[in-house]
């Protein structure tokens, strides 16, 4: 009996499987790239907020640093896409003349963190850096 022309079911399935693997691999690579771009975007947003906050903490009087609350004092509207997030400030007394201010933003269930440190030194002035 003469075989009818065309592909068999097996040939069709194998072809679809190869096509599927190629498509899926391409999409996975694409989404992975998108994920990295998103993470870069998030980091840029976080560091804008950190830089803005550092402008405040670098100018607070040295003696008053611990008296400030642990929250950000600047507007953190730029962080809205990262919600829910936490933005905290910690002041460490390293020595009598040095305090380390650490600004931290956490998001994605605290899986992602951005930090900015400001080292404050008591220069004796009142409104210095």
């Amino acid at each position: 009996m003469r075989k009818s022309p065309g592909f068999s079911l097996i040939e069709l399935l194998v072809g679809l499987m190869i096509l599927g693997i190629v498509i899926t691999t391409t999409i996975v690579m694409f989404t992975d790239r998108q994920k990295h771009l998103r993470q870069a975007n998030e980091t840029i947003l976080a560091y804008q907020a950190l830089a803005n906050e550092s402008e405040i903490w670098r100018r607070i009087d040295f003696a008053q640093l611990e008296a400030q609350g642990p929250s950000f004092q600047s507007d953190t509207a730029i962080l809205a896409p990262l919600a829910p997030y936490t933005a905290m400030v910690r002041v460490d007394n390293v020595s009598t003349s040095r305090k380390d201010v650490t600004l931290t933003v956490r998001w994605a269930n605290a899986q992602r963190v951005a930090r900015l440190g400001v080292i404050r030194v008591d220069t004796g002035g009142s409104t210095l850096w």
């Binding site: 899926t24 999409i27 771009l37 870069a40 975007n41 100018r59 607070i60 507007d75």
Partner: protein
Amino acid sequence: MVKRERGYTMLEMVIALAVFGVFLMIIVALTAEMRANEKRYPVNFMAHPEVSAVIARLRKDIFDTIYYGGEWQGYSQTHQTLILYTLTQGGAGETVVWDFRTPGEVHRKSYIATQLNAEWVGRGLPNFTVDIDTYTLPTGQDATRIKATDDQNRLAIDEIFVPRPHK
């Protein structure tokens, strides 16, 4: 003998479509998060070199600013115009006007005394707004706040620049 009709059977077509459907579901699942992120996140203008150039030049100008001017050669201090009295690298006084009024463009003009010394134009940029009144730091200094939103009105750039002490 009856000749078999050419083409696929219903079973063959159903199996083929089912396999293709599985791949489609995988694609949809993989791209769903991507589409959600597109809605959630603002455009990353910072990746644009021209935007970085604007931000860097603004930071430098404001850092060296002695005072914010009110009026200058037809310009007024508004949310779309920033007038600065700043210093050159050589220490000479310079008036700088940042003009954000033209959509998509940024104009920076610098003047030595009353003479236009240099003009720089950036194109293909987001629409910036400038605010010198919002931020008064605990030390009493007025910061300059630069903002830009994307076409979905999402805040994409929010930078605070503060002049350094000049005493």
